[in-house]
């Protein structure tokens, strides 16, 4: 509503004309000026400017809802109260039903840990008919790293939902609901996002997957500051996309090793800097999420996939509804499965660190078993 035109706001004719004459067309332009600047530009008194600004503000500002009406709306209008179940029992319980609609959910983890596997499974789940607990809709899968494998996806489908996929034509129908895009550059990605915005509502799209977000930027910039700002527009666009079409959006993020530039302390903590430095040299395989702190603020749920002494874990690292839980998992022919549904709770730095120890063994093992 920021670009609403002032002349259509029902201001008194004479002052609306002055706004137009001074080339202040949209609410955004008017509200970016202070009242005194407006007095100068429009050449009218303070009282008139104040009432005009108040009027514009009232029209531009979004309507309110009480939290109660918000909740009732969700429960009434949305299947499963606005969650896409992952079918991983423990994780679903922790997240109050699954991946929530309307927000960004991020998967972070080292290469080969199973991010894409998880995304494939989610895509299938969203496309399943409602009678089987799916969302019965289309899925848009933005595959930046060219890792999408239809064969693997059908395999997961066959193994996890044989009753559906063995029916004649069903595999084709399920597969037909998943649209895969291959943007090769950030600008191409931007373009397809804008197209997606239109088609989301028309085509019953129920899930958007972006695999991976980090690959888009790391291809274009070397390191450091520009990376953050390059995604600034995309962050708010994707968030608003999730919000207004009320669908879950899942993005993946790579890891990189921590560099000296990554601050993790405030200035008032600095006296303890020396102790932690020693700590860090011991763990030289320290990994952090590839997109920086700015991006991390933007995601609502962050799931970290890691491996620790040969065992893979999925951690709820950031979530407004769940405590920080970790679940051991492995990747089987039917996709990801949890080894136990009762996760254990994490404390302190463990929540956000990404371990990658003894990881290579598992990749090889799984790689062989897939072929």
């Amino acid at each position: 509503m920021a670009n609403m035109v002032i002349s259509e706001m029902g201001l008194p004719k004479w002052i609306a004309n002055i706004f137009a004459a001074r080339n202040i067309i949209t609410a955004k332009e008017a509200l970016s000026l202070t009242e005194f600047e407006l007095m100068e530009f429009l050449d009218v008194g303070l009282a008139e400017v104040t009432s005009a600004v108040a009027h514009i503000s009232e029209i531009v500002c979004p309507p309110y809802q009480t939290a109660l009406s918000l909740m009732e709306q969700r429960v009434q209008n949305e299947h499963l109260a606005g969650h896409l179940p992952t079918r991983l029992k423990g994780l679903d319980e922790a997240l109050c039903g699954g991946i929530p609609f309307g927000v960004l959910t991020e998967l972070v983890g080292p290469a080969g840990i199973g991010k894409t596997q998880f995304c494939l499974k989610l895509s299938l789940l969203a496309s399943l008919p409602a009678s089987y607990g799916g969302l019965d809709g289309r899925v848009i899968y933005i595959d930046v790293e060219s890792k999408f494998s239809s064969r693997r996806m059908i395999e997961i489908g066959m193994k996890s939902f044989p009753e559906i996929f063995l029916k004649k034509g069903m595999a084709q129908e399920m597969g037909g609901r998943i649209l895969v895009l291959h943007p090769t550059s950030l600008s191409e990605f931007t373009e397809s996002l804008q197209q997606i915005k239109v088609s989301l509502l028309q085509h019953q799209v129920k899930l958007l997957v972006i695999d991976s977000m980090a690959a888009l930027v790391s291809g274009e910039y070397e390191q450091g500051a520009p990376r953050q700002h390059a995604l600034g527009w995309h962050v708010s666009f994707i968030k608003s996309l999730a919000e207004f079409s009320r669908i879950p959006i899942v993005v993946t993020n790579q890891v990189r090793s921590q560099s000296r530039d990554d601050a993790c302390q405030y200035s008032f903590q600095v006296q303890r800097w020396d102790d932690t430095k020693e700590d860090r040299t011991r763990y030289d395989s320290h990994l952090v999420a590839a997109l920086g702190v700015h991006w991390a603020h933007a995601v609502t749920i962050r799931l970290v996939l890691e491996s620790k002494s040969g065992q893979r874990f999925i951690k709820v690292a950031k979530s407004p509804i769940s405590p920080p839980l970790a679940f051991p998992f492995n990747i089987t022919s039917s996709g990801m499965s949890l080894l136990s549904d009762g996760g254990f709770e994490l404390t302190g730095p463990d929540i956000n660190t990404i371990h990658c120890q003894g990881h290579n063994d598992i990749i090889n093992f799984v790689g062989e078993s897939l072929q």
Partner: protein, 346 residues
């Protein structure tokens, strides 16, 4: 006072000055029709100018007196008033202690921290706690939650509201017997009903809403807290003109401060963190830059200290800088005590 400082339009000011009326006293004895003729404006305009001018000179004159300045208050009265106002508890006793009892009304408090530290949790907790009835030492007010990031979770608000009512009934069992009557009044749905949620999608809307809040709150007098989660988000994207950003932010901060004073409510701004290069190393600091850091009365930083979440008072005119541990449980923000183990959700 000079004509140049009157809140009238630029062209009227120009006409006054070019006609020789530079001071207010020169305008004081004029009639509208004389002024209209001399300055070459319409009669109604002239009448308006005189009205504004006489208002201005009245303010001017009173500056001479010492205690009777319009709107001024003695420090003693302010102290008294401050004690009258209950503070909004955070539900974490340690955190309340370092905050001097909780979040103060009439002040703007900024709370910042890394992603996942519990900013939104604290925001929702405060929006619920402000509704604790006066009988239970609360404010019995309503809350406005301005969500710029889309991170508000209504399921979570419900959990926290349920836990809050549970805690109240527990403490009540110890204090008195007539709980039944009160229990009927408080239902989680009542708490959610009194939480006004605004979803803001651009910085223009954020400014518009800040302007509009004054009207909204005068229609909903019971609002005792305004939470902005987060103040940063829209101002961190697509801004090329940093000077404009600083100006808009400080304008917004001033309006929020005025709201806090006029309606004696608490304003809580949640902020994100960023990296800052100082003294040869990168450090974490709250976002929006140095000039923004002057805009808030209090600044609280949430951070990880070993295995525990801590809150640190980075800036406050009345509190000493201190830090205290807290924890985020399924019930909301609570004391961090190793002897009281968290209750798992499942």
């Amino acid at each position: 006072m000079e004509v140049g400082r009157l809140p009238i339009s630029a062209s009227q000011r120009g006409k006054l000055i070019s006609a020789g009326y530079t001071t207010l006293s020169s305008l004081s004895s004029l009639s509208p029709s004389v002024l209209a003729r001399e300055v070459n404006v319409s009669d109604t305009e002239a009448a308006q100018i005189l009205k504004v001018a006489s208002h201005g000179s009245r303010l001017d004159g009173s500056e001479g007196g010492c205690a009777t300045i319009n709107g001024a208050q003695t420090a003693w009265d302010m102290l008294h008033e401050e004690e009258m106002f209950p503070r909004i508890t955070t539900s974490c006793v340690d955190l309340d202690n370092i905050l001097g009892g909780g979040i103060n009304c009439k002040e703007v408090t900024e709370i910042g921290g890394v992603p996942g530290i519990g900013k939104t949790q604290l925001g929702i907790q405060l929006a619920v706690n402000v509704q604790i009835p006066v009988d239970y030492g609360g404010l019995g007010g309503k809350a406005i939650y301005i969500d710029t990031e889309g991170s508000f979770m209504v399921e979570r608000a419900l959990q926290i509201a349920e836990a809050c009512i549970e805690d109240m009934s527990e403490s009540d069992g110890l204090l008195r017997k007539d709980f039944k009557a009160c229990q009927l009044k408080m239902h989680p749905n009542n708490i959610l009903e009194n939480l006004f949620y605004f979803r803001v999608c651009s910085y223009t809307e954020q400014i518009a809403l800040t302007n509009y809040l004054e009207k909204f709150i005068s229609e909903h007098k019971d609002v005792k807290i305004v939470i902005v989660d987060s103040v940063t988000f829209h101002f961190r994207q697509d801004f090329d003109d940093m000077a404009l950003r600083t100006r808009l932010l400080s304008g917004m901060a001033l309006k929020l401060m005025k709201l806090a004073k006029v309606f004696s409510l608490a304003v809580v701004l949640l902020n994100q963190v960023t990296n800052k290069y100082t003294e040869g190393s990168f450090q974490l600091t709250l976002a929006l830059g140095d000039s923004w850091s002057h805009s808030c009365t209090n600044r609280v930083i949430l951070y990880w200290n070993g295995n525990e979440r801590y809150a640190y008072i980075d800036k406050s005119p009345s509190l000493r800088s201190a830090s205290a541990p807290y924890s985020v449980t399924s019930k909301g923000i609570r004391n961090s005590a190793s002897n009281c183990k968290r209750i798992k959700m499942m």
